[in-house]
Symmetry: C2
């Protein structure tokens, strides 16, 4: 039998909901946080928007209605996971305030932490690791968030992180410090 990693369950599981522009660094940060929490022996599930769009949400497009459904499904899964004692780290653009408010309601307000991964549009456009901004510039994508489709900045996120001014490691430090301060770890 393989060796085992003995692990505590989360006393009060929570969902970290990372929102931000494409290329703001959500997935990188989510992966870093997930690894750190797993290193603490916690049970964590990463819900990444891109991965979900290749599987569960492969039937959805990028119109307003489908974007809302994309978020709804992720939030419903977060609820199932939280109800099973599993911590959720979600990385989704989730551009609209109403969609994020709906996600908060579905997951359960007391355990939903909105994390704004904030980098200026110009920085995201320069990074552009998936070439999305280039495609939008060439007219091949009409509804990219930040270009052809709006991004509504969070008004009162639980955490506001400047991902253009800090490394993912430093931001993950900040998230974990905050979780500890709140007694969630």
């Amino acid at each position: 039998m393989p060796p085992r990693h003995f692990s505590p369950e989360a006393p009060q599981p929570f969902a970290l909901w990372l929102t931000g522009l494409p290329a703001a660094g959500k997935t990188t940060l989510a992966s870093e946080i997930t690894c750190r929490l797993r290193d603490l022996g916690l049970s964590v599930c990463l819900l990444d928007g891109d991965i979900m769009r290749r599987g569960l949400n492969a039937d959805l497009g990028f119109g307003e209605r489908d974007r809302a459904e994309n978020i709804r499904r992720a939030a419903e899964i977060a609820r199932l996971l939280l109800d099973s004692g599993i911590i959720v780290v979600a990385a989704l653009i989730s551009p609209f305030r109403a969609g994020r408010a709906n996600a908060r309601e579905i997951a359960g307000a007391g355990r939903f932490l909105e994390v704004f991964v904030d980098a200026p549009l110009d920085v995201c456009r320069q990074r552009d690791p998936k070439g999305l901004y280039a495609k939008a510039g060439a007219g091949q994508i009409s509804d990219l968030t930040g270009v052809g489709s709006p991004y509504e900045r969070p008004l009162r996120p639980e955490l506001h992180l400047r991902s253009d001014q800090n490394t993912p490691q430093a931001l993950a430090d900040e998230v974990l410090r905050r979780l500890r301060d709140e007694g969630r770890l």
Copy 2:
């Protein structure tokens, strides 16, 4: 800080996919298995068809196409969970062989265990804890599996359990014994 329950992660997570007629005892057995696995300190998520239909799958009906989508979504979630090292116990009627085969493919064949929770239709009809068979008899539900809609029995399930002849406790014993014998626990 609340006390913690120190837990091993599953070395090779797996999905137990409980299929069977309405009222065959899937949810009861799934809950029992989930508790036992958690008592071993494992990280487990229960995916119950009824619960999912109130949340994630609230937009779906019971036609053939929506039933397939219901199963597809559950299987995609199972994949996400397994990829995060979390054991899945799914309880869904999943009446069609093609749907279950699709679920197996999505979740990953080597980690998908089809568990046929088998009780004769007459027994299920007599139990009828949710009054579904009564409603179908009164013509209020036209597409109940086993009555107005077919149930395709598994041809080669990993486990075939007779839920009319055994208690849920005895069946859970059998499931755990089998998992141990296969080196999955």
